[in-house]
């Protein structure tokens, strides 16, 4: 079979099992788009801005575990997608991003829509390629998928000059089944000796705690994690990226940890004697001040990426390997061994934890006439029976969603944790809904974030995506305002966002249903009505109490035991 470069790309994607491509055409990718036109199996989703193509493919990948695929043109197409690529990179999301490039003979001549895509994306990709010969195209695509999906996953960019896809030049097509790279060999198995050593330490622990992250979700290791935690009877806290791996309603779950984590989770971290970190990377929002992090703990760390180990916090027992396999092996060692966890000590530990739990750190005013953002998220949980895919943007609403929508399943909570990209939620939901057409998909967002990719309402109409947008509208960039209130004597510099479009009319003009709710007594009815429109996008503008802040809060640079629990309080 002889194919042109454009046809090779389409065929490779099919052979790789790709079903959806998120993209936007332009000059440098016209040949590829022509090849798309001549086939039916691969579905192309036309976004309204390339940034959204990146986030949609990212959301697709997070919801399914399969790599998201993006196709954009050179120059501005490529620069617009960079935010999407960087977002995926920070959260280790597998993506393959195809960018058009000017023809090889004019590369470097400042040609129209030329930009050094490989150079611009280098710091925010797992790897990238510039295809210089047609003969290398299929191999490069295979390598890109291999690199993106194995080891610690991440985005891979392939920059393809226009002459490589010339429909007039055809070569025999062959898509390699396998790829072997001498310079890239991710670890496939954790060291059994280290695993045994870790189990021995766990059995001696008196105040143990599991601290797990996005790596558990990425490696589909929720089941072995849950089994291990329940077998040992240890408490567990999860990072923002890890929510849902161990069920949020599970009895051993302490809630999220870190800057806006629960009192019990953070206190358990501070007092623990054995910390087992799994697929987490000791991010600064989690650790707080590193010098005060888990001061008494022996630390076990399981991660696929050796460079994550002892990067921010010194680790005592490192285990490099795929999280799922390591957890399974660990469970096996636990079950086959004759030692049991220290029951007496654990009982005492749980008693202490229950005392912390009794502080009820997540309480808020439930009788308020103004709708509380926490209440809106709890209502969303109730109306969707806790089973929706929830995407979010970045800020207070993101934290409220993470805290109050108790995720019981992995891959349900989809947010930009590492990069913190406002504008992520709506396009990510497009990817999620594409992957799961029948599922309930909700975007929890703010009036500031949603405006960063609002144009995607048109994409939702074009593909009949019945996404539900829950806008927690407080008229501020809430998290910015919260920091200004706490640390800048309430000087709200440029954080007001009272000038917004009428979101109801705006949504209607895009062909969807717009609704607005202002009183807490009307919230339940409005939310139910929104979700009763099974095949329509509904944008619910929820006017919330503008003064509400996210608690608990550890100020940047403080230790886990130093939390604000409510306005005006400080706890040490």
């Amino acid at each position: 079979m002889e194919l042109s470069g454009g046809e090779i790309i389409v065929q490779c994607l099919k052979d790789e099992g790709v079903e959806h491509v998120f993209g936007y055409p332009g000059g440098a990718v016209l040949h590829i788009y022509d090849a798309f036109f001549k086939q039916k199996e691969l579905k192309h989703i036309l976004v309204r801005h390339e940034q959204a193509a990146g986030h949609a493919a990212d959301g697709y990948a997070r919801a399914t575990g399969k790599p998201g695929v993006v196709l954009v043109t050179s120059g501005p197409g490529a620069t617009n997608v960079v935010t999407g690529v960087a977002t995926a990179f920070m959260d280790s999301i597998p993506m393959v991003v195809l960018t058009g490039q000017v023809p090889t003979p004019v590369i470097g001549s400042d040609a129209f829509q030329e930009v050094d895509t490989v150079g611009i994306t280098r710091p925010c990709v797992k790897h990238n390629f510039l295809v210089k010969r047609l003969e290398d195209l299929a191999d490069t695509i295979k390598k890109a998928f291999y690199i993106a999906t194995t080891g610690r996953p991440g985005p891979v960019v392939i920059d393809i000059p226009k002459d490589i896809t010339d429909p007039g030049i055809k070569i025999p097509y062959h898509y390699p089944n396998k790829v072997k790279m001498r310079s890239y060999n991710p670890v496939v198995k954790g060291h059994l000796g280290q695993i045994k050593k870790a189990v021995k330490i766990l059995m001696e622990a008196e105040r143990p705690v599991f601290y797990t992250g996005g790596g558990v979700v990425l490696d589909d290791a929720a089941k072995p994690l849950t089994d291990l935690v329940d077998t040992l009877g240890f408490p567990i806290t999860q990072t923002l990226m890890g929510l849902g791996a161990y069920p949020g309603s599970g009895k051993n779950f302490l809630g999220m940890l870190g800057m806006h984590g629960t009192y019990e989770a953070n206190m358990a971290m501070h007092e623990t004697d054995v910390l087992i970190a799994v697929g987490a990377r000791f991010d600064d929002r989690v650790t707080g001040h590193v010098k005060q992090f888990c001061p008494d703990a022996t630390i076990i760390h399981v991660d696929i990426d050796p460079s994550s180990i002892s990067k921010n916090v010194r680790v005592d027992v490192p285990i490099v390997g795929p999280v799922k396999q390591v957890l399974k092996d660990m469970l096996k060692v636990v079950n086959e061994g004759d030692k049991k966890p220290k029951q007496q000590a654990l009982k005492k530990w749980w008693k202490q934890i229950d005392k912390w739990r009794a502080m009820d750190c997540m309480k808020y005013d439930k009788k308020s006439e103004l709708i509380k953002p926490q209440q809106a998220v709890e209502m969303l949980h109730k109306v969707t029976k806790g089973d929706a895919y929830v995407t979010s943007d970045v800020g207070q609403h993101q934290m409220f969603a993470a805290q109050f929508y108790r995720f019981d399943k992995p891959r349900r909570w989809i947010n930009s944790g590492g990069l913190g990209t406002m504008g992520f939620g709506l396009p990510a939901a497009i990817g999620v809904q594409m992957a799961h057409p029948k599922a309930e998909v909700a975007v929890v967002t703010g009036e500031s974030s949603i405006q960063m990719c609002i144009q995607e309402l048109a994409t939702c109409l074009q593909y009949d995506l019945p996404i539900k947008i829950i806008l927690l509208n407080n008229g501020y960039m809430g998290m910015v305002r919260q920091w200004q209130e706490f640390f800048y004597d309430s000087r709200y510099s440029q954080s007001g966002m009272s000038v917004t479009p009428d979101f109801v009319k705006l949504t209607e003009s895009y062909g969807h249903i717009g609704m607005r709710v202002e009183k807490s007594e009307d919230l339940e009815g409005a939310m139910k009505e929104a979700f009763s429109h099974k095949d329509r996008l509904v944008f619910l503008d929820v006017v919330v109490d503008p003064s509400e802040n996210v608690y608990p809060m550890i100020a940047a640079g403080k230790g886990h035991h130093e939390m604000y629990l409510s306005p005006g309080s400080e706890l040490v």
Binding site: V118, R122, S183, Y184, P306, S310, K311
Partner: protein
């Protein structure tokens, strides 16, 4: 502490940029860096001199290993190794100074490779510290130009860093 890291990497365009990028992006020190092809044309050998605490050096080697183009690397400072750097130094050499410079070059086992009425160009090879010592030994006012390659290193003993 000063470390010499020797890296075997794919001879691909952009590989050097990836290493350089890593150092700037993560704020690591880079004192010198040399790259050249090896006997296997698909591989380049890079020698990189950096400094930092043990934790930072550990991160540097891990991050370098993570780059897809890096095939293998070794921190030469961890074991016995040889280090060589080449320098070409152009010195003002007029009547009275010529004999003294010549003697100094001999002491350092260097070679004079270019001569004019008023100058010598000296080639000198050795560990970086030896080259520094030579520069300190000559009168500063005599130095016209210094060109150094940056150190290359190789481990001692019969074993080599190869595939």
């Amino acid at each position: 502490m000063r470390h010499i890291i020797s890296i075997l990497m794919e001879n691909e365009s952009g590989a050097l940029a990836r290493v350089a990028n890593l150092f700037t992006a993560r704020g690591y020190n880079i004192e010198s860096l040399t790259v050249a092809p090896t006997e296997d044309l698909s591989l380049s050998r890079m020698t990189l001199v950096t400094s930092g605490s043990d934790e930072i050096i550990e991160q540097i080697t891990k991050q370098l290993n993570k780059l897809v183009d890096v095939v293998k690397l070794v921190d030469l400072t961890e074991g016995g190794h040889l280090e060589r750097e080449m320098m070409m130094i152009k010195l003002r050499a007029e009547r009275t100074q010529r004999e003294e410079i010549k003697r100094l070059v001999d002491i350092f086992r260097g070679k004079i490779i270019d001569v004019t009425d008023t100058s010598y160009t000296v080639e000198l090879t050795g560990a970086a510290s030896k080259l520094n010592a030579f520069i300190e030994a000559v009168n500063e006012e005599l130095i016209i130009e210094v060109v150094r390659t940056g150190p290359s290193g190789i481990g001692r003993g019969p074993k080599g860093l190869s595939l």
